[in-house]
């Protein structure tokens, strides 16, 4: 039987990040992946001829630049190219665009409402203020509010200090912000329905909540706190698709002597007397290690892979109730050419932006109503991008890859499995919606990959296909993520750690959970850590 200092379970971007930092610290590390390819949900796959699909995650902004730099991901082939703006097509034939150029963005907003355009200044400052608070803590382990250990007290003091630096009014705003619905939040700034609808999308992406559900204002922030080269809120494409992120991380991992094995699913995480001893693979093979790090979500780790008798009952119960509900699906489409959107002027820069087709708050909420009824949205919120307009590597010249993120889409239909016909009906709903604004779209479709949450769960392993490994609501954030008392990447089983997006600071291709986990593990092993600190915004 082979022995390693540490095993990392799952070669998604967080697993690879942890693995790379552990290997950089000199540990012998084996990273195990159930699929025959690495990357988890940050993956590039050739599913149709010469087309490369970012078939799960599709844009990149949260990836911490500190990690990018520390692991030398540029040398390992990662290049992130920013793209600008977004557009929301309206039922009346008009559209609302958000341009990369702030001068034009203002002018466009003023075309819909001059008051809203001016209010945007206040909205931006208020939102950035909240985002600044969070950004500071992305690369830190959440302090335990019940602990008297010096590092927890110092951590709490740090949070307290940032908070105390706010004015009284800003403090109260912050309390409100963390609990508000995105709709209520936007109503405090804007009067125009389409502008609010366009901005509210970020409040529900990946979340089984509607725009009127409390807590969605925070989710909005989660999509605003990223940056590309210091441009906070900017999004980018990983050149070659999102798999480029995972491949570069794997390159860094291997550079430091790490070993990767694919087609090595985990049957059991082995424990003895409250301590982890290794893993048993699907194949029956056992691998020993005194440190095991699970990049799987918290539910899959503890409900599927650890014997329940090895876990405290209350902990297990908390894990069972951790909310990781499937709420979004995807369509990945190969196109024979660029679809035309007659509402836009030819050559509009908005072709390069992400596109949406729901133009009112009421329609946004109705999309959620369908999900609550156990079915997919019949008029969904689609976040559609065509990365090949920017990335020359993903499709033959003149051909395109289109990624459609679809909200809402349930894990199970009215409590039962999806049928083939229903999956196709789901896809047709999305295609029809886009075709309403692009007459030549349907004729250009060469291939469609349909991904319901059930498909994502089956392939990637994320419980219910929830893209964030569990929802980003206040009850499941910071020192409550994934469950109270276990927010510091450690678990009730000694030597067993979590490093996936179920842990702080949550989902998105950020690599922060993976890096934070590595820091904690290395501290326990009394090894020096190269996990970087935040650059800081100030």
């Amino acid at each position: 039987m082979t022995r390693y200092d540490a095993l990392v379970l799952g070669a998604g971007h967080n697993g690879l990040t942890t693995a790379a930092f552990l290997a950089q610290a000199g540990l012998s590390v084996l990273c195990l992946e159930k699929n025959d390819y690495i990357g988890g949900a940050a993956v590039s796959r050739k599913l149709y001829k010469d087309w490369t699909y970012s078939n799960c995650s599709y844009v990149c902004s949260l990836l911490r630049p500190e990690i990018y730099r520390q692991l030398n991901l540029a040398k390992h082939g990662l290049q992130v190219t920013p793209f600008g703006g977004s557009v929301t097509f309206m039922e009346n034939g008009d559209y609302f665009g958000s341009y990369h150029d702030p001068v034009v963005a203002y002018r466009e907003m003023a075309r819909h409402s001059r008051r809203d355009a001016d209010a945007y200044t206040r909205y931006r400052a208020d939102t950035r203020r909240q985002s600044r608070l969070i950004r500071e803590f992305l690369l830190t382990t959440p302090p335990d509010p019940t602990s008297w250990r010096p590092r927890d007290l110092i951590g709490l003091l740090g949070i307290g200090r940032s908070f105390a630096a706010l004015s009284e009014e800003q403090m109260l705003d912050t309390y409100r912000f963390w609990t508000l619905s995105v709709a209520d939040y936007l109503n405090e700034y804007f009067e125009t329905d389409v502008i609010k609808a366009a901005l509210s999308g970020s409040g529900i992406i990946g979340t089984a909540l509607g725009i009127y559900s409390p807590g969605t204002a925070y989710v909005l922030l989660h999509h605003y706190m990223g940056d590309v080269d210091g441009n906070v809120g900017t999004w980018g494409y990983a050149r070659g698709g999102m798999g480029a992120v995972s491949n570069a991380l794997a390159g860094a991992f291997r550079e430091h002597g790490g070993e990767l094995r694919t087609e090595a699913g985990i049957e059991r995480i082995l424990t003895k007397k409250g301590r982890v001893t290794g893993v048993a693979l699907d194949s029956g093979e056992e691998i020993e290690a005194s440190t095991v790090v699970s990049a799987m979500d918290v539910k899959r780790t503890f409900l599927d892979c650890v014997e329940p008798e090895a876990l405290p009952s209350a902990f297990l119960e908390r894990v069972r109730h951790f909310k990781s509900r499937g709420s979004s699906g995807k369509l990945n489409i190969a196109l024979d050419g660029l679809p035309e959107f007659p509402a836009l002027p030819k050559d509009s820069p908005l072709y390069y932006s992400d596109m949406h087709f729901v133009d009112s708050m009421a329609r946004m909420e109705r999309a959620y109503d369908d999900w609550k009824d156990g079915t997919w949205s019949k008029d969904p919120y689609v976040d559609m991008v065509i990365p090949t307009l920017v990335d020359p590597t993903m499709a033959p010249p003149g051909k395109h890859f289109m990624s459609c993120f679809v909200q809402y889409c349930p894990h199970r239909l009215e409590g039962r499995d999806w049928t083939r016909a229903e999956r196709e009906a789901f896809a047709q709903t999305v295609i029809d919606q886009i075709a309403n604004y692009s007459p030549n779209f349907k004729d250009l479709i060469l291939h469609v990959e349909i991904r319901t949450p059930a498909d994502i769960e089956a392939e990637i392993g994320i419980t219910e296909g929830n893209i964030f490994h569990g929802e980003l609501t206040m009850d499941q954030l910071l020192f409550n993520r994934p469950v109270p008392g276990y927010a510091q990447y450690r678990t009730p089983v000694r030597g067993l750690y979590l490093c996936g997006s179920s842990t702080h600071p949550g989902g998105g291709v950020m690599a922060a959970p993976g890096a934070n986990a590595a820091r904690e593990i290395l501290a326990d092993l009394r090894r020096p850590s190269s996990v970087p600190e935040s650059f800081g915004d100030d």
Binding site: A74, V228, P392
Partner: protein, 397 residues
């Protein structure tokens, strides 16, 4: 003769008509008498055209000289510090030339177009020095800046773009090779050179066919992400490539007023460009002396912690209480390397590769200034040097 007057104001290059059509931000500046763009629509996105697709930069204002005649090879070899006898027809050589004190007058590229025919491109104007250095040589030196329009076509899809334009022959060019190709009934020169550290080409052509070339190039680049770029985007790319800029990273020796402001090639990290095996070149004796006695300055490439560009920063040997040992000349956050990079000059006693120095960074957030002492590691070579830069034949992206 009365009524004679030189052109007033700024000149425009042969590509100006096309560039003006693309321009949306109205940001232009003067470069050697010409109007050129800082940016056309967004320098950030223009920069990414260099690193992701095809970027087109108008370098017509570069100073260009034609050097020809029976003694041209011997003259060029004598002029610059490197061995030019080993540069065959069809090659381009990066070179520096010095005054008799071994101080750099300028750097530039020398294109060997024929056995007895060279083109020299530089930032500054040097006809006076070039003719002074020609004493005793049977050589003709002619200024040809306005006679040669020039475009840099740079980026990972630059070859794919030229290929689509019907210029697939350039696929055989290795870095620093050049070839002549027919275009619109005339002969143009394409070299695999550039100022970006990426895959790229430069095209040298008669002004009469400039607009036609531009139009065909942009038509061909429609599906390969072609973008016109201004100087702002190029400047970031050249810092990432670690290239020096005259008047920014060093002062051309013939413009220096104060003592100690000039630099020798040894002080600029260009030992590899100085060939003491040559019996004679301008500045040889002084440089040989310097080699024995030691240099005063050293050019350093710095990898700086954090993400705040070290613009105009002082360099220190120690984070506290140390003496100031130099200063940063170029600095940027590199989007493609995700590194905080800088070029700087330090006292030659400091700054060996691998050394840690310290830079004093000032930056502003919402009007307030902050000062941060950041560790700067001296690194070797360019910050950005992707394999595609050298791949021959080049890939499609």
């Amino acid at each position: 003769m009365s009524g004679r007057q030189v052109a007033q104001g700024r000149l425009v290059t042969p590509f100006y008509s096309r560039q003006r059509e693309l321009d949306t931000v109205n940001r232009w500046h003067e470069w050697k008498g010409y109007t050129v763009a800082d940016e056309f629509y967004c320098s950030e996105l223009e920069y990414f055209a260099i690193r992701n697709a095809t970027a087109v930069f108008d370098l017509t204002p570069m100073t260009k000289y034609r050097i020809s005649g029976p003694d041209a090879p011997a003259y060029v070899d004598r002029l610059v510090t490197r061995d030019m006898t080993r540069v065959p027809v069809g090659r381009v050589a990066y070179a520096v030339w010095c005054n008799d004190s071994g101080q750099v007058i300028d750097d530039g590229t020398i294109f060997r177009l024929g056995e007895l025919d060279y083109r020299l491109c530089s930032q500054e104007r040097h006809l006076d020095w070039l003719l002074t250095s020609a004493a005793g040589f049977d050589v003709d030196v002619a200024h040809e800046t306005a006679d040669v329009a020039a475009l840099a076509i740079q980026g990972p899809t630059s070859y794919a773009t030229l290929d689509r334009m019907g210029l697939s022959a350039v696929g055989h060019l290795k870095p620093f090779n050049l070839m002549e190709v027919d275009f619109a009934g005339t002969s143009i020169v394409i070299s695999r050179t550039g100022f970006t550290g990426d895959l790229g080409y430069e095209v040298w052509l008669p002004p009469q066919v400039a607009e036609r070339f531009w139009d065909e190039l942009f038509a061909a680049g429609r599906l390969t992400g072609i973008r016109a770029i201004g100087t702002d985007a190029l400047e970031l790319a050249r810092i990432e490539a670690g290239y020096l800029m005259a008047d920014i990273d060093f002062l051309p020796a013939d413009t220096a007023i104060r003592p100690g402001r000039t630099r020798s090639p040894l002080e600029l990290g260009m030992e590899w460009l100085v060939d003491f095996g040559k019996p004679m070149f301008n500045g040889r004796r002084a440089l040989a002396d310097e080699l024995r006695k030691g240099s005063r300055w050293r050019l350093v490439r710095l990898d700086i912690e954090g993400n705040k560009p070290a613009k105009d920063a002082y360099i220190f040997a120690k984070p506290k209480g140390g003496e100031q040992i130099g200063f940063v000349t170029s600095a940027a956050w590199s989007p493609v390397c995700k590194q905080n990079v800088a070029l700087g000059t330090v006292n030659a006693r400091y700054g060996a590769v691998g050394d840690s120095l310290w830079v004093d960074i000032y930056y502003q957030r919402e009007l307030h200034w902050t000062r941060k002492m950041a560790r700067a590691t001296v690194v070797d070579g360019p910050f950005w040097d992707p394999p595609r830069r050298r791949a021959t034949p080049p890939g499609p992206y």
